[in-house]
Subunit: 346 residues, 2 copies
């Protein structure tokens, strides 16, 4: 890694949005993903890369290909959209990545949310490796309010426990703001993302107390011990733990899909990207405010102004700044990452 780091500073690669997309297409097509899957997955990876979220950007191509090589994903899956109730869209991803299944479910989700006021998109049997906020923004662009969540694998102990059981279960929310960028958050219900603990391990750094416990349930600052033998911890003590359990339930059994622990068992230690379900709720202000939706939605601008006036940060602002910068200047990939990706493409 230290060699790679050294190279980074010498021969970084700058790519614009189009070049990033074309690189994703090349890698994924080379490995046999079908055209529609390639497009959906590339869109999600490039969106994350443009927003400065490297952990969900092109770096993920390695995980996608590793999961494919493990037999953990169906590269030419054709999702099946099912109409099980007037406010429900179920999409069976048929073992493919979630991105295409999401895209295929969106038209029905939009029409049901607009007709009925609230609707739910339940994606089943998908492999998950992309950021939820990308999907949330697809819905806020349509003027809808959206909430999305999914289980992952059993990495985390419930508050008061010490054994890995729950996923890092992310939850994301989006609120449209007219022509401006939406208010969006997207966070894991663990104290910290798993990737951040992995980064500490790679760099030989200790982790702060509160992120995890060792195999005996004792608070630990050793990233390897927490990842391999102990358990991660939830954010916000019993409250974050309860939210993680809620997500297990509503994006698992409620939609007829796996808990994080079932997803881990399904993986059989192969280390593939997790296979499970995902749920997205979409709500239409036009059917919920009870008249004058635009006027009511504008009340939120006062809230956002008052948050910023006291020096607090609105979720996603950093991502929007990164997006603007990268649109103007392109994204810089480290030479090491770029070489790894090129190798996957050849």
């Amino acid at each position: 890694m230290s060699d790679a780091k050294h190279e980074d500073t010498e021969m970084d690669i700058n790519l614009d949005r189009e070049a990033l997309t074309s690189l994703c297409h090349k890698v994924l097509t080379r490995h046999g993903f079908s055209e529609s899957n390639v497009e959906a997955m590339s869109d999600a990876l490039v969106a994350a890369e443009m927003d400065g979220c490297r952990s969900h950007g092109l770096y993920r191509l390695m995980g996608f290909v590793a999961t494919l090589n493990n037999g953990g994903v169906v590269p030419d899956a054709v999702p099946v959209v099912e109409d099980t109730a007037p406010s429900v869209v179920k999409v069976d991803a048929k073992g493919g990545f979630s991105s295409l299944a999401f895209q295929q479910g969106v038209p029905e989700l939009l029409s049901k949310a607009r007709a009925n006021g609230i609707a739910i998109l339940a994606i089943n049997h998908c492999v998950h490796g992309t950021a939820l906020w990308v999907e949330i923004e697809r819905l806020t662009r349509e003027g809808l309010v959206a909430i999305a969540c999914n289980p992952t694998q059993s990495y985390m102990a419930p508050y008061g426990g010490s054994q890995p059981l729950l996923g890092t279960n992310p939850i994301a929310f989006g609120w449209p703001r007219g022509d401006g960028n939406p208010y969006v958050f997207d966070f894991a219900t663990s104290a910290i993302a798993r990737g951040d603990i992995e980064l500490h391990r790679r760099q030989g750094d200790e982790i702060p107390l509160g992120w995890g416990v060792d195999r005996d349930g004792t608070p630990s600052q050793d990233p390897a011990e927490v990842l391999d033998h102990g358990a991660m911890l939830p954010f916000g003590e019993h409250k974050g733990s309860a939210l993680a359990i809620m997500i297990e339930l509503i994006a698992g059994p409620l939609i007829g899909d796996m808990l994080s622990i079932e997803s881990s068992e399904h993986d059989q230690g192969k280390g593939s990207l997790p296979y499970h379900g995902e749920m997205i709720i979409a709500m239409d202000p036009a059917r919920l405010t009870g008249g004058s939706p635009q006027q009511h939605m504008l009340r939120s601008e006062r809230l956002f102004d008052l948050v910023k006036q006291q020096g607090a940060r609105l979720s996603s602002e950093r991502r929007y700044q990164a997006r603007q910068k990268h649109l103007e200047e392109g994204v810089t990939l480290s030479r090491a990452l770029y070489d790894d990706i090129l190798e996957l493409a050849s």
Copy 2:
């Protein structure tokens, strides 16, 4: 207070469920609340008292009457149920307490959730003073999964800020478990409930760091400073803060109702119970699992078992233990509280 405490130990009063209900009826009727409002409010107060949640139990009668005397609630409000979309029930509480509005909206909420898979109950223009979990349990008894939330008043700073802006915005969730008690949680998105800080003030105790800041935004352990001049803080840093903002938005502008700061302005410093909206989402497993709902819902039992096996606590278990105990032995009210209530009734 110390005198009252002394009396408590000498002449506590034991009342069973029926006696508690009759006491509530007497007080509320005496102050002019209409029969249907009296019944709905009493049910909610007695449920909280039976569950050992004193802050939302009969103690609240004082707040109800004070709010009435301030002109902050309509005692004979007749809620109006509106059908604005196939998966939406809107109930205009017409300035009354939320309990009756909730009860009136339930039949339509049940039928819409069962028909469409997911439905939303938006209560507008209500005064709020009762626990959300009581409403959640009404829905889990029907086999539905439910989420409820509401703003309050601007007591809390967003993470990274120092001025009161957000409410303590509770969120509650319920998951039916066949004939057993449901999995339910109900918590404020503040680090601690406002009532707990008030209790510290009354007892002359310091509060722990992390609960609030003083007027300059500096972390404070002085409960009076935090309550009267500073601000409460969210749980779980930026994540809890983001959730509190989500609740402001979806239980405020999205349903055409007030933000916490608007509710505070509406109160004009009178200290009434807060006037705002409330939103409840109900989901029907039978329409979401995609076949074999009972089998899928049972997957959750493994999760609950594994939480308990590692010594972690499931939310609500303490409440169910209290309920069982109080059903068998009755509830003990302090003499001071009982005397205060009797005075209200005379």
